[in-house]
């Protein structure tokens, strides 16, 4: 039995920056192993877990993609025992000063991101936000120790511990996209006791925050008939525009736009309505900003859908998610997968039927 909160806390606490996902992958592997039939790792590091369907072979398969990589920093140089850094994934430099981090050197070393005072910065950076290239990371170690333990290219993760807030919410780092990994884990557990005709490929993808290389190559290798990318979306929060954000605790969003197959969207929407699950429609007029962008055009093309979980303060170390939305996302996936008929592809239409 998977307990959501401890799983999510464990997933968020695990390092796994884009391109270096193995620490979190090992946890996901352990979590998925009891509920799946075959596990393997792709050439780019994505975790592929196959759960056999009940229909006779050859069976169609659906791929559920949740990226497991996290944003963070990388060491670019060392000055007097202090680290200079660059970003991995999209970071607003204004979020960085004063953040606690873990430097993955020869061992894990705690550190702080430091904003040097104006008089130590070049003239153009002396007021306003300090660009990342001028920030430093201080480990509290003396220069000699730092030079022994850290080198250029070492990764730096945020260190903010997951914290429970009011109303069954969790705040912390890397909830983008470990919240979706947790949802897929719950889905696999639920499918274990449900009949489903289709094969299910649960995939924890790599490098979404940088190149989407994980999702693109896994979709190519596994050639599913259908795919759903599960990711996070912008939660309603102070300062964020109302028309682009979604309330926490009101269910997942169903993506709609060029990255989404209209017929597949309709089918999933019908399931949500059938089980009376609250959801919001998320208009994604161009790039969905999710793995769906890459999966949709893998090989000869794959009908793809996007489901997202609202998350406040995305790409900060204090992202906030409502546990209820993760549970609902899991349930929606489970219901859709278990109701997939063996001839679904023959009935799937690109154009909306009126």
């Amino acid at each position: 039995m998977i307990e959501l909160l401890p799983l999510l806390e464990t997933l968020c606490a695990a390092p796994g920056l884009s391109g270096n996902e193995s620490p979190v992958r090992e946890i996901i592997e352990q979590t998925w192993r009891p509920y799946t039939d075959e596990l393997s790792v792709s050439r780019l590091g994505s975790l592929h877990a196959l759960k056999h369907g009940s229909a006779p072979e050859p069976r169609p398969s659906i791929l559920i993609a949740t990226h497991m990589d996290a944003i963070g920093l990388m060491v670019t140089g060392i000055v007097n025992g202090l680290l200079r850094v660059t970003e991995i994934g999209g970071l607003d430099a204004r979020v960085l000063p004063g953040q606690l981090v873990t430097v993955h050197g020869r061992q894990e070393i705690p550190g702080i991101i430091v904003q040097p005072p104006a008089h130590l910065l070049p003239a153009h950076a002396q007021s306003g936000p300090v660009p990342i290239k001028y920030l430093l990371v201080d480990t509290g170690l003396r220069a000699r120790q730092v030079n022994q333990q850290v080198r250029t290219g070492d990764l730096i993760s945020f260190a903010q511990e997951p914290t429970q807030l009011q109303g069954d919410t969790l705040a912390g780092r890397s909830l983008d996209n470990r919240a979706s990994v947790a949802a897929l884990s719950l889905c696999l557990e639920q499918l274990h006791t449900r009949n489903h005709a289709w094969d299910v490929w649960a995939v924890a993808t790599t490098q979404e925050e940088e190149t989407m290389g994980g999702a693109r190559t896994s979709a190519f290798e596994l050639r599913p008939k259908l795919a759903v990318a599960v990711d996070v979306t912008w939660g309603k929060s102070p300062g964020s525009p109302d028309h682009l954000t979604f309330a926490l605790g009101k269910g997942p969003t169903l993506g709609w736009g060029p990255n989404v197959h209209p017929g597949l969207h309709q089918s999933i929407r019908k399931i949500a309505e059938q089980i009376e699950m609250p959801f919001a429609l998320e208009a994604m007029p161009r790039h969905s900003g999710t793995d769906a962008f890459a999966i949709q055009v893998a090989a000869q093309g794959i009908p793809t859908m996007v489901i997202t979980i609202p998350l406040r303060y995305m790409h900060t170390p204090v992202e906030v998610v409502a546990l209820k939305d993760i549970q609902r996302t899991a349930r929606l996936l489970t219901e859709f997968i278990s109701q997939l008929e063996i001839d679904y592809m023959e009935k799937l239409l690109l154009e909306e039927s009126s």
Binding site: V95, G98, P117, H119, L165, P238, T245, T316
Partner: protein, 369 residues
């Protein structure tokens, strides 16, 4: 073995128990005006060691430890002040069941607030200060500082009856030891508080030690002002933590210019003050501390003269004037979510203070100023 070495060996030591106490002090929430949590730790620690302990009308803890000399005039009355309060926040408006506007208390760079976890009130209810996701910002927007006006403290999806307007909040950072360093919020001035607790417990017998654990230092040295009046001491010494700005200059890497404005440096030992915005240190006390350190082989540094201020700013102007000085533990990144100090600097600070106090006699003040 020289006499000085013997004296140093008598000085109180910082060991595991003292570091654990500093940890408790740093993790406690005590924003200016709401110092109760630190005050109760202080009272528990010192009550059985002092001759007299009182909490005054503004919340200072005033503890007296009398010297042993029968001749009262042979005992210098030395006031030592360490402030219990820290910088932080106050919730000023409930915008939603769980979203609050807040204001800052004490000197805080607003650029240090974004994306931080906080603890609200004496029950330490967790919350976060978030911001708009990078995806929804424009590159022009990212060139501007996020103003306090745009920030909120968010405690989740539901209200909590323990969180209300008027509550204080602090950064949520927990105390950690890293190699030679201590990393925590509120090192300014829990380092001073922890030092003063040790001095009360190991008070030199040649002086009357008047310990003031003060309130409201960060909002104008207000606790120290009344504490100095009450104690009416011969000498005032503020124990504080002062910025170490010993970071590389960006230009230095191109071989241009060294950072010559560092205030103090980590590993430089206790920082003896000469002049800041609030106090010109008494030259006799500067000499006394520097000479003591040199004679006893205790590393020390002079804090570069410049801005800033400590409780000495209020103490030296009390009544008819009180010769005063400050001695601080250097620490990086004070007034942010996490500072860094060296354990060795703290140890040397305690040793220097204890040794210097042991050598203080009324003749110190008969020297020409």
């Amino acid at each position: 073995m020289s006499a000085d070495t013997v004296k140093r060996d008598n000085a109180p030591k910082i060991r595991a128990a003292q570091i654990r106490l500093l940890e408790r002090l740093c993790n406690a929430s005590a924003v200016s005006g709401d110092e109760g949590e630190v005050r109760s730790i202080v009272l528990d620690e010192i009550r059985s060691h002092a001759d007299q302990v009182e909490v005054d009308s503004i919340g200072n803890v005033l503890a007296t430890k009398l010297g042993k000399s029968r001749h009262r005039k042979k005992r210098l009355r030395v006031m030592l002040a360490a402030h219990m309060d820290e910088i932080g926040f106050m919730l000023i408006h409930r915008e939603d069941s769980s979203i609050f506007r807040f204001d800052t208390v004490g000197g805080i760079d607003v650029r240090q607030l974004v994306g931080k976890p906080v603890l609200v009130g004496q029950d330490h209810i967790p919350g976060v200060i978030g911001t708009k996701p990078i995806h929804l910002t424009t590159s022009n927007e990212r060139k501007n500082t996020i103003s306090l006006d745009a920030l909120r403290i968010d405690i989740g999806l539901d209200s909590n009856p323990k969180v209300k307007v008027g509550d204080r909040a602090t950064f949520a950072t927990r105390f950690t030891r890293i190699g030679p360093s201590l990393r925590a919020k509120a090192l300014d001035d829990r380092l001073g508080v922890a030092t003063l607790i040790q001095l009360v417990k190991h008070a030199p017998e040649n002086i009357d030690l008047l310990a003031a654990f003060t309130v409201q230092e960060e909002v104008g040295l207000r606790g120290a002002q009344v504490a100095a009046y009450t104690f009416d001491p011969d000498v005032g010494i503020a124990l504080d933590s002062t910025p170490a700005i010993d970071l590389p200059d960006w230009e230095q890497e191109a071989g241009q210019e060294e950072n010559s404005f560092y205030n103090t440096k980590l590993d430089g030992g206790p920082a003896i003050y000469l002049a800041d915005s609030a106090t010109l240190a008494d030259p006799r006390l500067i000499r006394h501390f520097a000479d003591t350190a040199e004679a006893a082989g205790i590393p020390f540094q002079f804090r570069q003269p410049g801005g800033g201020g400590t409780d000495a700013g209020a103490i030296h102007r009390s009544r008819a004037g009180i010769p005063s000085i400050s001695v601080s533990v250097p620490a990086r990144y004070l007034h942010t979510a996490a500072g860094i100090a060296r354990l060795s600097d703290w140890r040397h600070t305690l040793t220097l203070l204890h040794t210097a106090l042991t050598k203080m006699t009324p003749s110190l003040l008969s020297e020409p100023r």
